[in-house]
Symmetry: C2
Subunit: 223 residues, 2 copies
Amino acid sequence: MDRTAETRAAAETRRAETRAAETRRKGPVGRPRGFDADEALERAMRVFWEQGYEGASLTDLTSAMNITRTSMYAAFGNKEELFRKALERYTEGPASYGVRALREPTARQVATAFLHGAVRATTRPDCPAGCLGVQGSLAAGATGGHARDTLAAWRDEHTAHFRDRLQQAVDEGDLPADADPGALARYLMTVANGIAVQAAGGVPREELQRVADLALRAWPPVG
Amino acid sequence: MDRTAETRAAAETRRAETRAAETRRKGPVGRPRGFDADEALERAMRVFWEQGYEGASLTDLTSAMNITRTSMYAAFGNKEELFRKALERYTEGPASYGVRALREPTARQVATAFLHGAVRATTRPDCPAGCLGVQGSLAAGATGGHARDTLAAWRDEHTAHFRDRLQQAVDEGDLPADADPGALARYLMTVANGIAVQAAGGVPREELQRVADLALRAWPPVG
DNA sequence: ACACATCTGAACCGATCGGTACGGAAGAGG
DNA sequence: CCTCTTCCGTACCGATCGGTTCAGATGTGT
């Protein structure tokens, strides 16, 4: 690893010196790259998005990018740098709804644009489901596929329990008659899963407590 | 893999036949197990919780369980079954707040108990942060550590952008003066991340759209 | 005391992981 | 043309993956 970084750094230094010594160079010398680096990065982003960082093997990545391991290594450094660049591309591409939302005129419009953008971006039919920023290390490779499906089923099962419980509340008049138990149950599970993501990232308990209290303000009054 | 299942199934069949043939057996014959299977499962659960399914290697698991690979294989079948049993234990243990919440008398209390329980369970100082049901395939092993940290920083960075934007809204009177921009920004990011988790699990767009609209009902009025 | 079922530790399996070394092919500049 | 630089494909590296086999230690029921 140290050797690698050292070698690469040395190569870049040498290249810079060469360029400086000859003061100006029209184009890059040597055989030009035989593939579109931008398109390759786009494809790598998709793979990371779908399979996560660890779940995406170099074989998966390079075969999707239609280049060899060596070409990937030369063009992007290593797997970690490739991931970093893919994340940048994701931020400016599929996740650009985030910065767009920030430019909305009112706070409510900011919030609305952001959440609606998140829904659209995570459920586009032509893209992997979910958000690279979350499942970059949520998704799984071949061996983890079963585990991932098991957990998705686990979450759905518990959502169903809440839906049933809330349906009972509607029947009892404890919720408004027009309340949607399925949507409310999904809402609870969504907020709880979001809280788990935040917690895994190190957000402290007090802050998440405020999030939970805030989320409960959306709860319908007794019907 | 087929050989494995076949062998194990054959062994269980043989054991059952033996037991049936001798009609009654006081205790299990042969050398008794030299470790506490319950405690071993508890420890395995922790490792899966912290590192995810793929991120937890057999070496990680067995060394945490203080048993050998062979003992684990004999007692739990294989890694996948071990994970399934760990998830069951998690459901009845750290995640039992879920079923407890279902027993609350009113819908609002159900919702409150569930979200507050989620906050407590995902931020216990003596347990891994987050929820096994989410990061069972969210967390990462040794090689994925950098990626996980990168993504956590990425989410925090964008949360900060929203905080700044909402602070501006407070200054402009677009939000109530007592609104907490940090908490509101965290709330938005939490819901968006939760939506991403749902989407990754296959929840369709229309349903998530209803979730987003529901979440926006918690938004404070123009101040 | 004996036979037997089970546990245990270590060595080992093929497969795959991320990452490299090398030699030939191929375009750019003189 | 020749030379130089870079790209590209292959074959390979050590490490680790999940899983298995086997010999020997160990406790139980007869």
